[in-house]
């Protein structure tokens, strides 16, 4: 009973993003930067977005932590490039649904690689790891809207 759960948690795709994170770099021309730190475990993520109008032109991050937190933010940045702020917001909400075990979210292909993190929902103490990057995203979206109100 336990092995499948463990295997569902540590999917190859997750380990692959952990070892070779996408968009892990400084983005000097960013328009918003959010630093998220989990003092309980020491995981941290610095998310940088370049927002152009209502679109995210580029998304990069610097971070350190466990495979779940780092793979999740890597997968997230892949989905963010070219997305509108509203689409990014939807992505964050749908990912939160996935973490809460929502079955519709688990079937939602628009989540892309992020669907590999579905197994995390079975490990309650690790959900906050997966959400660290999305916490940064939600804060970044809030700040971007404040700076450039919708017209």
């Amino acid at each position: 009973m336990n092995e499948p759960t463990l295997n569902s948690l540590y999917q190859q795709l997750i380990l692959e993003h952990y070892r070779k994170p996408r968009n892990r770099a400084e983005l000097p021309e960013h328009t918003v930067e959010i630093h998220m730190y989990n003092p309980v475990c020491g995981d941290e993520i610095r998310l940088q977005l370049r927002v152009d109008g209502d679109r995210i032109a580029e998304a990069k991050f610097i971070g350190q932590g466990c495979s779940i937190s780092q793979a999740a933010v890597s997968m997230m940045t892949v989905k963010l490039e070219g997305a509108t702020l509203a689409e990014a917001d939807d992505l964050a909400n749908q990912f939160v649904n996935l973490m809460h075990g929502d079955e519709a979210a688990a079937r939602d292909r628009s989540l892309g690689d992020l669907r590999a993190l579905q197994g995390v929902s079975k490990f309650p103490v690790r959900i906050k790891c997966a959400l660290l990057g999305f916490d940064a995203l939600q804060e970044a979206l809030k700040q971007s809207r404040l700076e450039a109100p919708a017209h």
């Binding site: 336990n2 463990l6 540590y10 380990l15 309980v40 475990c41 020491g42 932590g65 779940i68 690790r126």
Partner: protein, 414 residues
């Protein structure tokens, strides 16, 4: 698998701890998070339950029979812990919520009264946050400076540099007896002598020592010594500050409230005698009773026997873990300089991932910075996994740990 060296009746001992007898994720629990908190034997659980079932009342307040009994048990517990630490008298034992509150008590009373601008407080980079932050708060309020004894690459204090950081401006030195993050055992008696040579006071954080070895405050010659009940098989929320009576007499009260006063008037109040001066409010009576029962339990098993058994298990654990490819152990190489704490990393597997995978096989370890971020920084890591052993752990459990680490290596390819 080596033959178990039976220094005592291990199955009988383990049967005293009901929490050890359970399955986690389909596997028998292997509890290796003892540096965080220890499991509780029936003797402690029964003592706490019996207090509430038969004798529960407030202490030092009532004339009635239950209050008399509660007061007697509470003060007997104080005397029991006084003998456990070899204090000169029970009045030198102040009940606190634990080691953290004991350190905060000294920082908030003695240090605020006696440390001023330009003075120095000496601690080390090995300390738990509870032995760093209270002193930083004192420094902020007084203009004093917090200085640090550094560590070498095995996580041992650099005592040959002690005279560089210890001097006439040093008012108080506060150090761990045993490191919670590395298991390093500090030569605390020797350090205490050197601290007294410059006229400073010596406080010892004994959270990781009290559970494993007899603490003799008179032999150590220190000024303050703190222990926690829950790490020595007692309840959570109870601990002790020991201090020499002369110090306690001259110290300001800690918190204000009932129990700690003599006379309250409109314009001011006078304080109760030591130790009550430091114990405002209804204390954790059942906790004190439980901690005294834990002291009884440990001394009945025998600290010599506990030390010998732990040494056997830890030696085997270090041997076995050293053979795991990609595994790095932090802390002193010599078993003579370390206790039952083994901090490690494994390849590029993050300690949280290690802990999740071990948990899926029933093995409980701690992962993270262990409330010792300065230690993590010293070794250039964000976190470690930590297996910490106690009197009921076995060499079979070490084998279970190593097997579970094979699963980690399988997943992370370390």
């Amino acid at each position: 698998m080596p033959a178990e060296i039976e220094v005592f009746d291990l199955p009988f001992l383990r049967a005293q701890f009901p929490a050890l007898d359970q399955e986690i994720n389909g596997h028998p629990l292997v509890y290796l998070d003892n540096a965080a908190t220890a499991q509780k034997p029936w003797k402690v659980l029964d003592a706490v339950a019996q207090f509430y079932e038969r004798d529960n009342a407030n202490v030092h307040r009532g004339i009635h029979e239950l209050s008399r009994r509660a007061t007697e048990e509470f003060e007997d517990a104080r005397a029991r812990i006084a003998s456990f630490m070899n204090a000169s008298e029970p009045a030198e034992i102040i009940w606190t919520r634990g080691t953290t509150e004991a350190i905060n008590l000294v920082a908030g009373t003695w240090a605020l009264d006696n440390v001023g601008e330009g003075d120095e407080i000496l601690i080390s980079t090995m300390e738990h946050h509870s032995n760093i932050v209270p002193w930083q708060l004192v420094a902020e309020r007084t203009g004093a400076k917090v200085r640090y004894i550094e560590m070498d690459d095995q996580g041992r204090l650099l005592l040959d540099q002690l005279s560089d950081v210890l001097g006439e401006r040093t008012k108080i030195v506060s150090l761990a007896h045993i490191s919670n993050a590395l298991g390093t055992v500090n030569p605390i008696a020797e350090i205490t002598r050197r601290v007294h040579d410059v006229g400073a006071l010596m406080m010892i954080d004994g959270a990781q020592a009290g559970p494993h070895r007899p603490v003799d405050v008179q032999e150590l010659g220190c000024d303050f010594y703190a222990i926690s009940g829950h790490k020595m098989c007692g309840p959570t929320g109870i601990g002790v500050l020991w201090a020499r009576r002369e110090l306690l007499e001259e110290m300001s009260p800690y918190q204000g409230g009932g129990e700690m006063i003599r006379i309250v008037e409109r314009d001011g109040s006078t304080w109760a005698e030591v130790p009550h001066k430091f114990e405002a409010g209804t204390p954790n009576i059942a906790g004190a009773v439980g901690m005294a029962a834990a002291a009884d339990f440990l001394e009945e098993v025998g600290f010599d026997e506990i030390a010998e058994h732990e040494r056997t298990v830890v030696r085997y654990a270090v041997e076995q873990l050293s053979q795991v490819p990609g595994l790095r152990i932090y802390g002193p190489d010599s078993l003579d300089e370390r206790s039952g704490v083994i901090s490690f990393t494994l390849g590029d597997a993050h300690p949280h991932d290690i802990s999740t995978i071990l948990d899926s096989e029933g093995v409980a370890v701690r992962a993270g910075h262990h409330c010792a971020q300065l230690v993590m920084r010293h070794f250039g890591v964000a976190a470690t996994a930590r297996a910490s052993f106690y009197l009921y752990n076995t060499t079979d459990e070490v084998d279970r740990l190593v097997e579970a680490l094979d699963t980690v290596r399988g997943i992370f390819g370390a």
